[in-house]
Every structure is written in structure tokens, then in C-alpha cells.
């Protein structure tokens, strides 16, 4: 992986940061949509080398964080059944539901297994014909094709003891929801490169036009993120609102067409709840009728579950960019990565965990954007 060092070079990073500083004349709030980018920003300290006027707002793009509580609770209920082998990606195991997490279910005797590829869950189902095997199929457009493939393979090969608890979410409706939320301060977006690698990006153009907001498709390495910010700032300073692809080594305009065909065949778009944010119209996928017999929610009838969310947790405000994680009252007190109240503290890519883990030496206050802009106005 030689390219890693190539996109982490300290000198180039400083040059990019210098160029950004020369371009900026006033404060801007930019949102990186994807949790992977949030992680990269905090882990590498990108925010520390940016000029003060640039405020990075950490968006809702962490699949672990935005999976609704009721889905976690359904997962816990299904995983606790003695007839079930419950398969999940590793980082979902510590996400708190109303009562405990998948680790607790596992310790209490539930057969919970970590898989690296959704197709492994189908394999497990084939190997255990007398058990029900359930895959927790969550995530954005990035993880959806592999989950769709698992369902399709199970369908085509009649692996009827397999099912999926599906809760996929989509990026463009989230961008729309943020732009339309009252008090929105986001002036530009870094869109998630991996998502666009699957879906392509032409459908982002109407968002730029409608909201007059620049959207730059950005990768995850430090230099990718810095370059995304640089391009976003150049647009903002010159008053343009274009769609730009800053990640051409991975993303093409048409995306992965085979994956899109598969997604279209297996999933249909529906309204979805986002944890901490609420319902966003047409922002998720569920299985189409042809595949409904593989829908774990129907198979196990878990519709009547009552959820109980922490009253302290402000993950929704964090995900919308209204507050920084360390402005939440519970941050680092009642809520830490070992005692998470919200999913944003659980996932390594969650904004609260990223702040807690890597940002413990950053000052408590978020940059005061209004004061900064008043100062700039004074100087002008």
C-alpha cells in the first residue's frame, strides 16, 4: 500500500494548508458528510492545521451512529433467541440499545458472530440448516451492494434460513435535510468518496443548483481531505456552487453500474428514521417484495418493541452540526466510549468518540464563528 504514504505526506499537507489559509478571507462552516473523513480529520489533526476561520462540522455519515434505536433493539431481541445465529459487523456490537448491547446478548448466551463479508452469513446459514441466521444489514450506499448480494444469493440458492435486518440509509436526502434544517450554517460539503464510487455523482448536481452549495467529492487520506477543503474554499470565496470530483482515482461519474443494478433489483426507497435526527423522507432502503421472505423484521415479528433513548444525549445536534461533541453536557462525564449514551460515542468514526479519543487536548470551546466574523468585518 505505497499510496498510503503518498497521501499522508507532511510537507504537501503543510503546502495545502498554506494555500487554504491564503484563500480564506472570512469564516466558513464546511461539513464532511462521512464518518471516515471525521475520523481522518481528528486522527491526523487536520483541524489543527486549518486557519481558525474554517469550521469543520461533522456530518451524519457514520452508519453506526445513525442506525435508529428501534433497529438496535430489534437486533438485540432477535440475537437473544436461542434458534438464531446473529451476524454483524464488529463495530455494531457495542452500540447501546434501550437495554444493553450485542456484547451483553453474547455474554448471556446469544450466538452473535462478527462477519467481514455479508456473504459469510449466507455461508453460515448453509452450514447450519437447523438454525436461523440473521445479518444486520446497515450502512450507507457503500455497504449496501454486499448486503444486497447476500440476500440475492440466499434467494437464488434457496437458503431459506437466512434473513437480513435491513436499515440502509442514503446520503443525498441527508444533505437535503441539513440544508433545509432551520439555522443551518453549512456552506459547503465534502461528499463521501466511497459512496460516490458506488452510486456515481450526477445526482448530486441538482443539490448544488437548488441550494447554491458547493459539493466536493472527497477521499479519506489526510491529503484528500485537505484538497477537498481547499477546493471547497476556492468555490466559496469565488461565489460558485459546483459539483467537483476531488477523488477521481476512485470515483467516476457513472459509478459502479453493476452494483447499482443489483441495488435497484433488491431494494426499494422508503422514508427512514435516523438516530438522533429523526425521519428523513425517502432516505433509506428496504427489501423489495420479491425478497420480503428474507426480511428478518417480518420473519421474527419484532414490530412491537418499545425504545428508550437517553434523555441526556444530544447526538442529533452533533450530527446536524448544531453543537460540537464536547459541548454536550454528558460528554466525558456520563458518556464515554466505555459508557456510551449515544451511538456517536460508540463507533470509532462517531464524532463524539473521535473527539473523546483523539481530541482530549483540544480546547473545550468550539471556535466562536460569530466573533471571528465580526473581527474579519472590522479588519475589512
Amino acid at each position: 500500500m505505497k499510496h498510503l504514504t503518498e497521501y499522508r505526506d507532511g510537507e504537501t499537507a503543510k503546502r495545502l494548508a498554506g494555500e487554504i489559509a491564503r484563500q480564506v478571507t472570512r469564516p466558513w462552516a464546511i461539513m464532511e458528510v462521512c464518518g471516515g473523513q471525521t475520523h481522518s480529520i481528528i486522527r491526523n489533526g487536520i483541524d489543527q492545521i486549518l486557519p481558525d476561520q474554517i469550521e469543520m462540522i461533522h456530518g451524519p455519515g457514520c452508519p453506526v451512529c445513525v442506525t435508529p434505536l428501534e433497529v438496535i433493539d430489534k437486533a438485540l431481541a432477535i440475537a437473544a433467541r436461542p434458534d438464531v445465529i446473529f451476524c454483524s459487523f464488529g463495530d455494531m456490537l457495542r452500540v447501546p440499545g434501550s437495554e444493553g448491547d450485542l456484547f451483553k446478548v453474547k455474554a448471556a448466551g446469544g450466538d452473535v458472530r462478527v462477519v467481514y463479508c455479508p456473504l459469510d452469513a449466507v455461508k453460515i446459514a448453509r452450514e447450519n440448516p437447523d438454525r436461523e441466521v440473521v445479518l444486520l444489514a446497515i450502512g450507507f450506499e457503500t455497504t449496501a451492494p454486499a448486503n444486497a448480494m447476500a440476500v440475492k444469493v440466499a434467494h437464488d440458492q434457496h437458503v431459506d434460513n437466512f434473513s437480513a435486518l435491513v436499515s440502509h440509509v442514503l446520503v443525498p436526502p441527508a444533505i437535503r435535510a441539513i440544508m433545509e434544517s432551520p439555522g443551518n450554517r453549512v456552506a459547503g460539503f465534502l461528499a463521501a468518496g466511497h459512496v460516490c464510487a458506488v452510486t456515481g455523482y450526477s445526482h448530486y448536481r441538482p443539490l448544488c443548483d437548488q441550494y447554491q452549495v458547493p459539493i466536493v467529492i472527497t477521499g479519506f487520506e489526510p491529503l484528500d481531505v485537505l484538497d477537498g477543503i481547499r477546493r471547497c474554499i476556492i468555490q466559496l470565496e469565488s461565489g460558485t456552487a459546483e459539483l467537483e470530483n476531488a477523488y477521481p482515482r476512485v470515483v467516476t461519474e457513472q459509478g459502479n453500474v453493476a452494483a447499482q443494478v443489483l441495488l435497484e433489483e433488491v431494494f426499494e426507497t422508503i422514508d427512514r428514521n435516523w438516530r438522533g435526527i429523526g425521519a428523513i423522507a425517502q432516505s433509506g432502503w428496504r427489501l423489495r417484495d420479491a425478497y420480503r421472505s428474507f426480511d428478518a423484521e417480518i420473519k421474527f415479528d419484532v414490530s412491537a418493541i418499545a425504545t428508550r433513548e437517553s434523555t441526556l444525549c444530544r447526538a442529533g445536534d452533533v450530527l446536524k452540526g448544531a453543537i460540537k461533541p464536547n459541548q454536550c453536557e454528558a460528554f466525558g462525564k456520563q458518556c464515554t466510549p466505555r459508557t456510551p449514551l449515544g451511538a456517536t460515542m460508540v463507533s470509532g468514526e462517531g464524532a463524539c468518540a473521535a473527539y473523546y479519543n483523539y481530541g482530549r487536548l483540544v480546547p473545550l470551546e468550539a471556535p466562536d464563528v460569530q466573533a471571528a466574523s465580526a473581527k474579519v468585518a472590522e479588519q475589512a
Binding site: 499537507a13 491526523n44 489533526g45 464488529g90 479519543n357
Partner: protein, 370 residues
């Protein structure tokens, strides 16, 4: 030494305070009513068990030091100034055989290394087996042969043992516990709380090889090149270090929880801050890319043949050379320094010239979703 900003100031961090974003954790530590896998991960959950279950029950000064092994004198017995070191460890690794070694090497090297980290010359080991009904004797023989070979390599003898068998389904094939004793030479006093501001941090080689070797076979993941465990005995390396620097302050082998757990333990025990330079961390490229793919941090991944040491700045070059001349230390590097600032906190300088806090892991690392 190559690091420029080393200061030899005594421990003056007492009057300095630092803003930790209001960090306090008032929540009682019993987050889980039952044992979960993470309690064995070498991170904070493991430490919880020690702090809340074992220490209060066992209560004694040797245990309270929380070293890799306990160093003590036998009451009334004169050993010409020498002291004994004693350590124990249990091994539940899966799979039992992996690229670069087996549970047999691990049990010997692991206990030898725990003793060596207190500066002891390891002498005798015990071995206790918990076998599952149905376990193939041919495999047990392979394991025993590996143990014998590893013991001879490390210059120790396995002088006592025990075997128990549990019913089928009540074990995982083969668990092994080892205990060991060694002798600490007169005048050698190595412990995590001896770390001082100004010390140089030296790592003996690449990070994460063992953990990723186990991951790759356990999960059937294939990478560009085979990743081999670094399992190795380190007593000779430690002897070499002590020869050039009898005043070595702290030694630790970063096993479960990785370098991050070890550095955080040392920072906590000594009340010093530690700054490491991320660009200087030796990491094998295949291990690096495997970690990237799975979303693992190499700082948190287990090693079985590496040590990290804190030595006075004036001895740093000599110690580095001593480690490099050992056959398990060719990849050694100076990776950071100990500071009086931010007591108890480990900070990494990142490649782009910023910094971040390196936290101790909670339980086990979890492969991430995307």
C-alpha cells in the same frame, strides 16, 4: 540521540495542569454484569477486573505494583543481593498454530518475556494444560515439542506441570497456563513508575505482526504477503540493554492492547506524559495495509516479540545499538520521549505535523463496517 526537544528536568509536573475538556468519569466501572470478550482484551475492561475484583481480594504490595512480573526477596533467605521475579500467564489463542509459531512458542516466550521485563534472567517455568475431551494427541505433541524447543532457545527449563481434561464442548481444544521464576541481578530496578521526563522511548521492532497474523488465519483473510507472528524470547535483548544501561527505567512488552495499552499504563504509573512520533513507528507494510482494510489501529494490535523501553537520554544511542545487535531487534527505533507536560497522557505527533491523544483500548478492537 536524534530527538531534539528532550528535557532532563526532574518530575515537575505536579504543579502543571492541563485542560482535558472537563474529562472525568464518575460512572462506576462495572459496565457489564457478566464477563464479555473485551474483559480479556488487555485494555480498560481488563484493568477493571484487576482493580475491582482481584486487587481488593488479594491485597498485597507485590501485586499493587502491577508489573509484568512480581520482584521480591524470600524472607530470611540471602541471595547475595539478588531478588526473585515471578510471573504467570494463560493462553487461549485460536488457532493453535499460525504463521510464525504456535501456542507452544507463545506460552514459553510470553512468560519468559514477562520475567525479562523486570530485568530478570528467566530460569524455571511450570506448565498447566486444560484439554478438551477429543483433542488430538498428535496436536498436543506438536505443541509440547514447540514448548520444549522454545524453552531451550530461551535457556529455561519447564520443571513442573499439570493436566486437566474438561468435557467436550467445555473448552476450546487446548488452554495452557505457564508460570515462571527468574533472578533479578543486584542493583537492577526496573518498573513502570521509574519513567522520568527526559527519557527516550525506544521500540524494538515492527508493530502488530502477531495480532494481524492471528487475525489473518482466524478470519481467513488473505493479504499481499503472509503476515508472520513475531513470537520471540527477549531475555537476551534485555540482558544486552542492561549491560549498556543498568539504569534502564522501564521495560514493557506490548502484548494484548498493543503499544497503546503499554504506553498508557506507563504514563499512568509514572505520572509522566509520553509523546511519540507517528512517522517513526516501524510497521510492516502488509500489516499496515491489513490494518487499514479492517479499520484497526496498529498501535492497539498485539505483539509477542517486541519491547518498549524508557531509558535516560544519554544512554539512548547505546541502548538502541544493543537492541539492534540482538537478532530480534534489527528493526528497533527511537519513537518518542517522556515529558513533564500532560501527565498520564500519551500524545502522538501525526504525519501532517499535528497531534492527537493515544488512548488505551477499552476491550478488543472491532473491525469496522466500512
Amino acid at each position: 540521540m536524534a530527538d531534539d526537544s528532550t528535557s532532563n528536568t526532574p518530575r515537575d509536573h505536579g504543579d502543571k495542569t492541563i485542560e482535558f475538556s472537563g474529562l472525568v468519569c464518575p460512572v462506576p466501572l462495572q459496565d457489564y454484569p457478566n464477563i464479555i470478550l473485551g474483559h480479556g482484551g488487555g485494555g480498560k475492561l481488563s484493568a477493571d477486573l484487576v482493580q475491582h475484583v482481584f486487587l481488593p481480594a488479594f491485597q498485597n504490595d507485590h501485586l499493587a505494583v502491577l508489573g509484568d512480573s512480581a520482584v521480591f526477596q524470600l524472607a530470611g533467605v540471602q541471595l547475595a543481593g539478588q531478588r526473585l521475579a515471578m510471573s504467570t500467564d494463560s493462553y487461549v489463542v485460536r488457532p493453535l498454530f499460525f504463521p510464525g509459531g504456535s501456542i507452544g512458542d507463545l506460552v514459553v516466550n510470553g512468560t519468559v518475556n514477562d520475567l525479562a521485563m523486570s530485568g530478570a534472567t528467566p530460569l524455571y517455568l511450570t506448565a498447566a494444560f486444560i484439554l478438551e475431551e477429543g483433542f488430538p494427541i498428535a496436536q498436543l505433541k506438536r505443541i509440547a515439542d514447540a514448548m520444549g524447543a522454545a524453552a531451550r532457545r530461551a535457556g529455561v527449563a519447564i520443571i513442573s506441570g499439570d493436566t486437566k481434561v474438561v468435557e467436550r464442548g467445555h473448552g476450546d481444544g487446548c488452554y495452557i497456563n505457564t508460570a515462571g521464576v527468574g533472578i533479578v541481578p543486584d542493583g537492577i530496578d526496573i518498573a513502570p513508575n521509574h519513567t522520568r521526563p527526559g527519557d527516550v522511548v525506544i521500540l524494538s521492532g515492527t508493530l502488530g505482526d502477531h495480532g494481524m497474523a492471528i487475525m489473518s488465519v482466524r478470519e481467513g483473510l488473505e493479504f499481499d504477503a503472509e503476515i508472520r507472528s513475531d513470537s520471540a524470547p527477549l531475555a537476551d535483548m534485555v540482558a544486552g540493554i542492561i549491560q549498556v544501561c543498568p539504569d534502564v527505567h522501564t521495560l514493557r512488552d506490548p502484548t494484548r492492547g498493543g503499544l497503546s495499552a503499554s504506553l498508557n499504563e506507563i504514563a499512568a504509573a509514572s505520572g509522566c506524559g509520553i509523546v511519540i512520533d507517528e512517522t517513526r513507528l516501524p510497521i510492516h507494510p502488509t500489516v499496515q495495509s491489513a490494518c487499514e482494510i479492517l479499520g484497526f489501529d496498529p498501535l492497539l494490535v498485539a505483539n509477542e516479540g517486541k519491547l518498549v523501553c524508557m531509558v535516560p537520554a544519554e544512554s539512548a544511542d547505546a541502548v538502541l545499538n544493543a537492541i539492534r545487535s540482538d537478532k530480534h531487534g534489527s528493526g528497533a527505533a527511537i519513537i518518542g520521549r517522556v515529558v513533564a507536560d500532560h501527565p498520564g497522557v500519551v500524545v502522538a505527533k501525526t504525519a501532517i505535523g499535528a497531534s492527537r491523544v493515544v488512548v488505551a483500548p477499552i476491550g478488543e478492537q472491532l473491525p469496522r463496517i466500512c
